[in-house]
Structure formats: C-alpha cells, structure tokens
C-alpha cells in the first residue's frame, strides 16, 4: 500500500478554521501542492487578504504578509519589484478583490506585474456575515439584499476575468470551479500553470475559482455544490480568457 494522496508539505497540519464545506481549504491545498511540485516554497511570499482567509497565513509554511482590504495587488507589486526572484501569491476573496480592491487588481494586471492572483469567487461576503458582493447574482438574497439583488438598485454582477482579459498585459487568465472532480482537476492545473508562468517570469497570472459558501448561501455543503452548478456557473462561464504573451492581441 502506497500513499497516493495526502497533505502537501507546504501546508502545515493546523486544522482549518473555515466552515464545513468551504472552498478555501480545497484551494489552499492546491496552492500548497503547486508550490511543492514546482519547488517554489522557499521563494514564496503569500499575501493574505481581509475576509474569511485573513488567516490563510496560519496554514502555509512560507513567508507571509497580511494586507489591507483590497490592497494585496499593490502589496504584491511592492514585494515583487523589491524582490524579483520571489514567488508572490495574492490570495483574495470577492469583496477584497472586486469591491475594495478593484483599482488595485485592474492596475496590477494592466501593468503586467509578474505575480499570481488566486481569486475565490463565492458571490457573497463570508467573514462579515453574508452581505452582497460585487459578484452576487441577480435575485440572490444576502444580508444587505434581503429582497434579492435588484439590478435597478444594485447593478449586475461583475465578471472580473472577462474584464481583465480586455487588458494587453496579463499573461494568463482562467476561471474554474470546485464542483466536481473534472473541475477540481482543472482548478489545480490552472493554479499550477499560473505559478509556473510566474516562475518563468512570463507576467501576470490570474485564476478565478468559483467556490462554495454553504453558511452564507444558507444551504448544506452537499446542496452548495448544486447551488454552484445551477446558479453560479451559468452566470460565470468557465474557461481560459487569456493565454498569450503580454502585448499580444488575441
């Protein structure tokens, strides 16, 4: 008998503080696996955002820094420009990246900063108690859209991957999901590819992961997979939105 799957080295054995069925733990594992497989752990600096994963740094055996809400791409810019040989990973949720940090992510992408952004999109604010996010769906209830998101008041969900793909500088932008084994595998492949491209100095890489938040969606973890498939995935199509050298027109 041989172990074919277990905890990657860069992830320590501290139990996660996340809710049952939360997607964060899955993606943390994929990031750690990728760092280990690509032998990048001793060059890696992980940026933890503000959100449920504010304490992502509890779990990674790398250098870690916590950033103000939304500012991680600017912090990453400073880190990478100061230490070009480091591997910088900005791990952010939908409030951090698409609300507070919208300017920072667009401009880091526009400048083509050579680091990797992992964007966890679960269409709601977790840590602060289930408020509406920029990616919340039309009709979706939340603690600040109790009658369901009405586009008349609150506009439409923002498609960050598509938006960033209009820029010439990014090297690789893909949206994946965590709903089944095929997509879990694609997510891991995307995260690993993004880090590999960073290590090769090829430019700005961005992986948007559609993830579950059973607690704030108000469903059981097993039902949250259904929710993800029937509600989130139709709004946010999966796929590669850019995979080209900076400056290339696609």
């Amino acid at each position: 008998m041989q172990k074919v799957f277990g905890r990657p080295t860069s992830l320590n054995d501290r139990p996660f503080h996340y809710c049952p069925g939360c997607g964060h733990g899955i993606v943390h594992r994929m990031v750690a696996e990728s760092i280990d497989e690509l032998l990048l752990a001793d060059r890696t600096i992980l940026i933890s955002p503000v959100g449920c994963s504010v304490f992502a740094y509890w779990y990674f055996e790398t250098d870690n820094v916590q950033a103000a809400h939304g500012r991680a791409p600017a912090v990453g810019t400073g880190l990478k420009r100061a230490l070009p040989d480091s591997i910088v990973i900005s791990y952010q949720g939908d409030g951090d990246l698409a609300s507070s940090g919208m300017a920072e992510i667009v401009h880091a992408a526009a400048r083509g900063e050579n680091f990797t952004v992992v964007f966890i999109n679960n269409a709601i604010y977790g840590m602060t108690g289930g408020q509406m996010a920029p990616t919340t769906l039309i009709g979706q209830t939340s603690s600040t859209s109790p009658y369901g998101r009405d586009p008349g008041f609150a506009g439409y969900p923002i498609h960050v991957s598509e938006m960033l793909a209009t820029l010439k500088a990014p090297r690789y932008i893909e949206r994946t999901a965590l709903n089944n084994v095929v997509n879990l595998t694609r997510t891991k492949r995307a995260v690993r590819k993004a880090l590999d491209l960073q290590a090769k100095g090829e430019g700005f890489t961005f992986v948007e992961v559609l993830s579950m938040c059973p607690t704030q969606w108000g469903v059981e973890p097993t039902e949250s997979i259904e929710w993800l498939e029937t509600r989130l995935m139709p709004e946010f199509p999966l796929g590669v939105f850019r995979d080209a050298r900076p400056g290339e027109v696609t």
Binding site: T44, E61, D63, V65, A74, G78, L79, E104
Partner: protein, 348 residues
C-alpha cells in the same frame, strides 16, 4: 561639493544615496518633481524600481509590500493624497514596517489649493490613520535639511521599524538652494530577523497587524508604545535661537521658522528679548525644552500657517507656566516678519 537644487529633487537624490531605490508615487501638486526625478534616476540604478501607482492608496501599499522585504522604500504626496495614505500608514505602523513618507503640504481642507500650508500637523502628529500608533515626524526648514532629514528619516524608520513622515510646506519643495550630499549613506540596521525574502533554510516570517484576542492586542500595543517611549527619550530634535534670556519665545517650524528668525533678530535690535524654538521633530515633540524655557519666559507665540494645531502641543508643554498666544495665516499666506512683530507687540 554644493549643488543648487530644488527642494523636491534634493529629497529624491538624498533617498537614492541612502540606498532607497524603490519609489512608488502619484502625481499631485506641489510635489510632482519628486516622482518625475525618481522616474529619471531609478531606471538607471540596478535594483531600482519606479512605479507611478494608480492612486496614493496603491502607492502606500506598494511601499508596505516593498518594506516587508527589508529594502528601503519611500513615497511622497501632498495633503489630499496623504489623507488617502492614512489607512496604509496605520497598517505600516501596526505591522512594524519601516518607510518614509514625504508630505509637501498644501492648502486644505478638501481640494484646498496648491499653495503652502501647515494644516496637516494634526494628521501627521496625532495620527490621521486609525488606532494606537505614532509616526516620527520630521520638519525641515531648508533644502539642505530636506536632504539631511530624508536620510535621517530612512535611518529612524529602520532603527525603530516604524513609518516616518517628513512634512514640508509646498514652497520649500519649489525653492532652490545649495545642498551638499555624501556620496552614499550607510544602512546600519539588520532586517534579516523579520523580513520576507523567501523562507529558505529558516522558518517562515509573518508580517501582520491583526491580533484578535483583547489581551494579545493590548500586549502588542504596549510593545509598540514601549518603542514610542524610547523614541521620545532619545530622538527629540530642535534648534534654539537666543532663548537663554528671552522674554518672548516664538515656536515655529518649516518656512515659518525662517521668518521667525528674522523676527527675533529684528526685535532684538529693537530692544525686545525675543527667542525662537524651532522643532525639527514634530513627533517626538520637544516638550522638555519648551517647559524649561517657560520657567523664565513671559509668554510664547506659536506661529503657524494654519488656524492653530501645533499651538496645542506648545500649551501642553508649557502646562500653564505662562501664556501661550497664537498667530497664523491660512490659504497659502506666509506670515511676514512685520505681521509677527505687530502680533508680539500687542502682548508686550
């Protein structure tokens, strides 16, 4: 060898010679010469990086990231842009990261104007950002001092792992005066014990400012304040002119202190025993020297280009030993020697 240089550019050149080759900034009058100068100089220096950030919010966070690596980084702005940096400064102080922020002060509140003012004293010294922290605040009065305090600021930031702010009125940045630099300035502080450089052969380092448990947060804040107490003991800087026997003592900084020195000389010629205390560190504030002089002075006149901000700290330092009066101008008006003399005479 002295060179004639604009104040803003002298700051940039001094920073570079002090090994600070990372600059992240944003255009705002009256400090645009700083990013422009850095944009010319830094690309020619190995390891140098210049970014015009999208906003001052981004700029201060880029400084935060760069500072994590142990490399020196600075940014500059003017009053409204510095307001945008307050969140970042609170985080820098909370995470114990060194950096230098330069504020070329202009008229406020709001959009104000592009003339010089000194109305950001509260923001700098009392904390424009949230929470329990302090910034070391340096106030030059000449182009030479703009260069020297840039170097000192970078040193103090490293020494105490704290952000340092250099405040100067917009006109000091525009003035051209002779300035002398050393070829280079040493960086004496070792940051390998905490900096983020990739955890090769060591445990990972963590830079953060969140402490959820009340006792943990209180302990941490006490640690910061022990640091601030040490700074108050050892880093006060000021200059005195003819205060030994002074009846009337002016307290002023920056450009107003240059005007005030003329006032002191003029009044002395007219038989009035006037003196001047010029704070160079606005925090830590030179309260001891002010209190000592308050024992024999008849009154103090605090002179500022604002409606009165530093005057409150002068009052706290004098602590009732004698009257503390105030004279100020706003909107960019620089008080003239005649105005200040007239004000002093109303109290004689």
């Amino acid at each position: 060898m002295k060179v004639l240089m604009k104040g803003n550019e002298a700051i940039g050149e001094a920073a570079i010679r002090a090994g600070c080759t990372l600059y992240f900034g944003y255009p705002i009058t009256p400090q645009n010469e700083i990013p422009e100068y850095m944009s010319r100089r830094l690309p020619t220096i190995p390891g140098g990086a210049y970014i015009q950030a999208e906003t001052e919010v981004a700029a201060i966070n880029m400084v935060y990231g760069a500072a994590c690596t142990g490399r020196r980084a600075f940014t500059s702005s003017s009053s409204p842009g510095v307001s945008l940096m307050m969140e970042g400064l609170s985080y820098l102080a909370g995470a114990e990261l060194p950096c230098l922020v330069v504020n070329m002060m202009r008229g406020g509140p709001g959009l104000g104007n592009i003339n010089p003012e000194q109305a950001d004293y509260f923001q700098a010294v009392k904390g424009g950002g949230h929470g329990s922290y302090r910034l070391i605040v340096l106030a030059p009065w000449s182009v030479q001092e703009m260069a020297d305090l840039t170097v000192l600021g970078l040193d103090l930031a490293d020494k105490y792992r704290n952000p340092v702010m250099l405040v100067a009125e917009g006109n000091l940045g525009q003035m051209m005066e002779p300035v002398e630099f050393q070829d280079s300035y040493p960086q004496p502080y070792d940051k390998s014990g905490w900096s983020l450089t990739g955890a090769k052969g060591r445990k990972g380092h963590l830079i953060t400012s969140i402490y959820l448990e009340a006792d943990d947060m209180e302990r941490y804040i006490h640690k910061l304040y022990a640091k601030y107490a040490e700074i108050e003991q050892t880093e006060v800087r000021f200059e005195e002119f003819q205060t030994d026997d002074a009846d009337v003592i002016i307290v002023a900084y920056g450009i107003v202190s240059r005007v005030s020195r003329i006032v002191v000389e003029t009044l002395r010629e007219q038989g009035v025993k006037a003196g001047l205390i010029r704070p160079i560190t606005l925090w830590p504030f030179p309260k001891d020297v002010i209190r000592r002089r308050a024992a024999h002075a008849r009154f103090f006149l605090t002179c500022e280009m604002s409606m009165g901000q530093m005057v409150e700290d002068v009052m706290l330092s004098v602590n009732g030993l004698c009257p503390v009066h105030f004279y100020g101008r706003s909107g960019g008006n620089v008080p003239s020697p005649a105005e200040i003399i007239a004000e002093i005479r109303t109290h004689l």
